[in-house]
């Protein structure tokens, strides 16, 4: 059951200040409405994981680790590998996060990231089948939120795609006896796309990208639009208790498309590095 959350009270004076600034097109940290915070990406940070990446968006910090195992494919998709996305809002990351099983926020986060990867076909799941109907690679994408200062979706999705691009999986050979055997060789995960999510928050009548936590807490709604490398939209999620007019949605889509392009370059160059 989903329940209206108790949002942290933002000091009234701060809230008013943010609103006033926005009327002049400015934000509390001096950014333009359509500017991202500095993005830093580091890959290969966890040697035991098959792939990993940390992404910082300002003070928001996310670690994604990829584990690859083998298991049964789903019975309704016998010819494709399995991809699973899981997110943990660690109590490390903010005073409001409590330990426990995933709540609706971490489930939504994981599912929005999952949708971007899945619908863009970023990972070629058809190449991850070993024995059709019997054995497949199972890719676990675990999102670990280390510090929460807003816009967890973009930070998580970027860390996820960076980690996937960084992933090496053991080659498995099916012997003459039909038994699959792990070899010592490793190969990269088959990556086909690089979906980029752009999250836009609405405060009053203003739309602003990459909200910090203070902005998020004031925002009436957020929308995340994920764009594939050839410019298609592959996932959308409106979130929060407010609305977007259809005009605002059109504006948001155009902004998202523009920002996605910029960010993708950053990701690709860091992944290549």
């Amino acid at each position: 059951m989903s329940i209206t959350p108790q949002t942290e009270p933002l000091a009234k004076i701060k809230s008013k200040q943010i609103r006033e600034l926005l009327k002049t097109g400015k934000r509390i940290d001096g950014r333009e409405l359509d500017a991202y915070r500095p993005i830093t990406i580091e890959t290969g940070v966890i040697g035991k994981a098959e792939g990993s990446a940390t992404v910082s968006l300002g003070n928001t910090k996310v670690l994604v680790g990829i584990k690859v195992e083998t298991g049964s494919p789903y019975s309704d998709t016998p010819n494709t590998g399995v991809l699973t996305v899981n997110a943990e809002l660690l109590p490390l990351a903010h005073a409001i996060f409590e330990p426990g099983p995933p709540d609706e926020n971490s489930i939504e986060l994981a599912r929005v990231v999952d949708r971007g990867i899945r619908e863009s076909k970023a990972v070629d799941l058809e190449k991850l089948i070993i024995v059709p109907g019997k054995l497949a690679y199972v890719v676990f994408v675990d999102i670990y939120i280390l510090n929460h200062d807003g816009n967890l979706v973009d930070a998580s999705a970027l860390a996820a795609i960076a980690a996937l691009m960084n992933t090496k999986i053991p080659k498995i050979v099916v012997g003459e006896d039909g038994e699959p055997k792990k070899t010592e060789e490793f190969k990269p995960l088959p990556i086909q796309d690089c979906p980029i999510p752009v999250t836009i928050a609405k405060i009053g009548g203003s739309l602003l990208v990459d909200p910090v936590l203070e902005e998020e807490n004031m925002a009436s709604a957020k929308i995340t639009i994920t764009i594939t490398k050839n410019g298609n939209i592959c996932a959308i999620q409106k979130s929060g208790p407010g609305t977007f007019t259809l005009d605002e949605i059109v504006e948001a889509e155009k902004t998202a498309r523009r920002k996605a392009e910029e960010i993708r370059e950053k990701i690709l160059s860091s992944a290549g590095g």
Partner: protein, 252 residues
Amino acid sequence: METVKRKLIDENGLRVDGRRPDELRPIKMKVGLLANADGSAYIEQGKSKIIVAVYGPREVHPKHIGLPDRAIIRCRYHMAPFSTTERKSPAPSRREIELSKIIREALEPVIFSEYYPRSMIDIFIEVLQSDGGTRCAGITAASLALADAGIPLKDLVAACAVGKVDGQLVVDLNDEEDKEGEADMPLAYIPAFNAASLLQMDGQLTEEEFFKALEMGKKACLKIYEMQKQALKERYLKIKESVEAGEENQEA
């Protein structure tokens, strides 16, 4: 294994169930059918069948989750174990947990929550049979149940998905179109605000398709909105009749 994919749009531009791209499935709405709930509604949209109950505004329990300035909304989207082709476990799935949140956020914008501080309003959506579009139909019916409960609303929320099948944009996808199609975009629309309170998408759409889909979605929602108003009117007429009948009885 080779699977020949069935065509989803035929040579006449008609869909698997014979509909035109912008044509809704047959829709039945009924308001006020559950005796205990403060408000209730039932919707059939194609083969999807959904029942919704609203309780409240009522006292919050436990008290500490109440809010000083407005009612909290609690919302559960739940599928019956027998609603799907394979039996669904009754425990809430990750999908149901996400949809419960998203649907709550789609309905909150029209509720005058501030009229009822420290109270709660419960919305229980049960999918009895699932054939695509259940989150949208659930929102459509939940709006009716809220109105039936006498909760003051800024407007009704009408919802409908738009999708892309065989390269063509269509509204109100059934299960087959949803699963075999190239994109699915559920939209909840509030006419009074010309705004979306739910918007999701999966699959792939070009920018041009997306803008067109938004327009088609809006039009589909407006048709549903008219049906909602009609369903409420019938409900009120029925109540009025029974009240008047009661008065006559009293007079007699």
